[in-house]
């Protein structure tokens, strides 16, 4: 148990171009060959990656002032509304927002070809975006309407701020009913026609630091092709779910809120998504470096797909109507094989998160660290971990007098 490293020692090696960095996929073979202790002595940093649809994403924008000035009350970007209930020319564009007059699910299943996530992708790609805004007019902001065209270069700030990304584990979704379902987990064919999952497994950031020892507020990360930071724990962050003997949560657990300057990100790592019958979203690329502070961290990063299990959940009744229980557990090696067995039936698996792109992110981050352009940061605040008093509540439905509150 002799290995101890500090962030400063690791950064010193990064600055000298001497840091030993491998991806979370490469490290598995190294640990199998050399053992945890030896691997911990040799390796300084392990890089992770994930690239999947993350609906809780969006961007804060400051458009700059027009003459005469306008206090933008309602704002649309390519017809997609951004929330403008903040200062005069600030707005927040969310990934799942749809254009005005989108047919939605009126002809089911809706196509959701364009939404907030697509606008964010177009912004990052440097495309021209139509900006429309209206207001009621004030003495200091007399203008009531503006209709113009902007690009990412023109506007003052564009700050990607995603309140919930990089879910640590998630359900494997199936459909027990007799009709096809269109969900945020993609299309689910009837009678266990397929099983959908969304994670990069052994490459996924929070599976490699299951108790959030090194990933915390202030951690510098790869975000959307640029550099970003962990801003806080994500919404619905729940460290207190059951864990297996390796400490890996056996269902949706930790989440991250992340932030970064959109202007230095790249369109190939922020891609608009259209989920048939469900809505629009944004596929976000995130990579997080894990410093090998000691042998325990090396043990964590050596996690393999077969060590990680997730619950199989029915999306016809179980998920939408909050029915407890599941159809058992499945590990990621089985999911990645293309076929799993549920209740004796062979079921084809449908990935939604891109494993090849996750690997590419871990590779890019590895190169950044190796060539000295990316140093590691120690968390300035720890995320709540297992045993901390975090409870996820359901929404109570109370009557108008606030009585008879019930939770499911």
């Amino acid at each position: 148990m002799g290995v101890k490293r500090t962030y400063e020692e690791i950064n010193e090696k990064i600055r000298k171009g001497q840091a030993v960095v491998v991806t979370a996929e490469e490290v598995i073979g190294i640990v199998e060959e050399k053992g945890v202790e030896k691997a911990a002595q040799e390796i300084d940093v392990v890089t992770t990656g994930t690239f999947g649809p993350m609906c809780s994403s969006g961007v804060f924008l400051n458009f700059g002032h027009s003459n005469p000035r306008i206090k933008m009350q309602k704002v649309w970007l390519n017809g997609v509304e951004a929330y403008a209930g903040i200062a005069a020319v600030d707005a927040y564009l969310g990934a799942t927002q749809l254009p005005e007059n989108d047919p939605e699910n009126k002809v089911f299943p809706g196509r959701f070809s364009y939404g907030g996530g697509h606008v964010i992708h177009d912004l990052v790609a440097g495309k021209e975006i139509r900006l429309e805004a209206i207001s009621y007019g004030t003495d200091c902001y007399p203008r009531k309407k503006i209709d113009t065209v902007i690009t990412l270069k023109d506007i003052n700030e564009a700050i990607l701020f995603n309140p919930r990304n990089a879910y640590q584990n998630y359900n494997c979704a199936v459909n027990l009913s007799d009709r096809t379902l269109y969900t945020y987990m993609g299309i689910l064919k009837p009678r266990l026609g397929n099983a959908s999952y969304s994670t990069s497994g052994q490459l996924s950031p929070l599976f490699n630091d299951p108790y959030y020892r090194t990933i915390g507020v202030g951690t510098r990360i790869f975000l959307g092709g640029g550099v970003g930071y962990v801003a806080w724990h994500g919404t619905q962050h729940n460290p207190n779910v059951p864990r297996n003997e390796l400490g890996i949560p056996m269902g949706g657990a930790g989440t991250l809120a992340v932030i970064g300057d959109l202007k230095q990100m790249k369109p190939e790592w922020l891609v608009g998504a259209s989920l048939l019958g469900y809505g629009a979203s944004l596929i976000v690329g995130i990579g997080i470096p894990i410093p090998i502070l000691d042998v325990e961290m090396m043990r964590f990063v050596s996690v393999k797909d077969e060590d990680i299990v997730c619950p199989i959940v029915d999306y016809s009744e179980g998920y939408p109507y909050c029915k407890p229980g599941n159809l058992g557990y499945v590990n990621f090696k089985e999911l990645k094989s293309g076929q799993i067995t549920i209740e004796g039936k062979k079921v084809t698996t449908t990935p939604l998160s891109s494993y090849p792109k996750a690997r590419q992110i871990a590779e890019i981050l590895k190169e950044w660290i190796k060539n000295g352009q990316f140093e590691l940061t120690a968390p300035v605040l720890k995320l709540p971990s297992a045993g901390d008093p975090v409870v996820i509540n359901s929404l109570p439905e109370r009557d108008v007098n606030g009585r008879n509150g019930r939770r499911w």
Binding site: F51, G52, P53, P109, S113, G186, I187, N194, S196, V271, G272, A273, S274, L275, L276, S281, I283, K336, S337, G338, T348, T349, T350, P351, L352, S353, S354, Y355, P356, K357
Partner: protein, 141 residues
Amino acid sequence: MYKSRVVCFFSEAQSEQPIIYRLVKDYNLVINILKADINPRKEGYLVVELSGNREDYDSGIGFLKDLGVRVEPLSQTVVWQEENCVQCGACASFCPTGALAIDRSTMEISFDNSKCVVCGMCLDCCPTRAMTVHFNIGAPL
């Protein structure tokens, strides 16, 4: 056994006739309808795979032409826009013929157009709409 994929364009008068039934019954052809659409004016098209012996196939096509149906060969119908593909692999589990397949060692997706039957499932399940359908129509048969 001869097999060919064709697009049949028809007008209102033809769309009200049992064309497929006649092809099966009178010309002994095996028909796999890959895609079909009729607009409100009752004009439309059928993308079909026809198989049977060559003689039956030719007389079946002749029958369609005599009815006034425009018959054109189909090629390169579904296009994989690789630059829009994020390699998630969702499409492969819906592809009935394995034209879209995942290499399990790398988890990378590939598309073999020759196996594609233009069912269109991949167009629906691709979150980045990287699969598009193109009617690349050659000279009339």
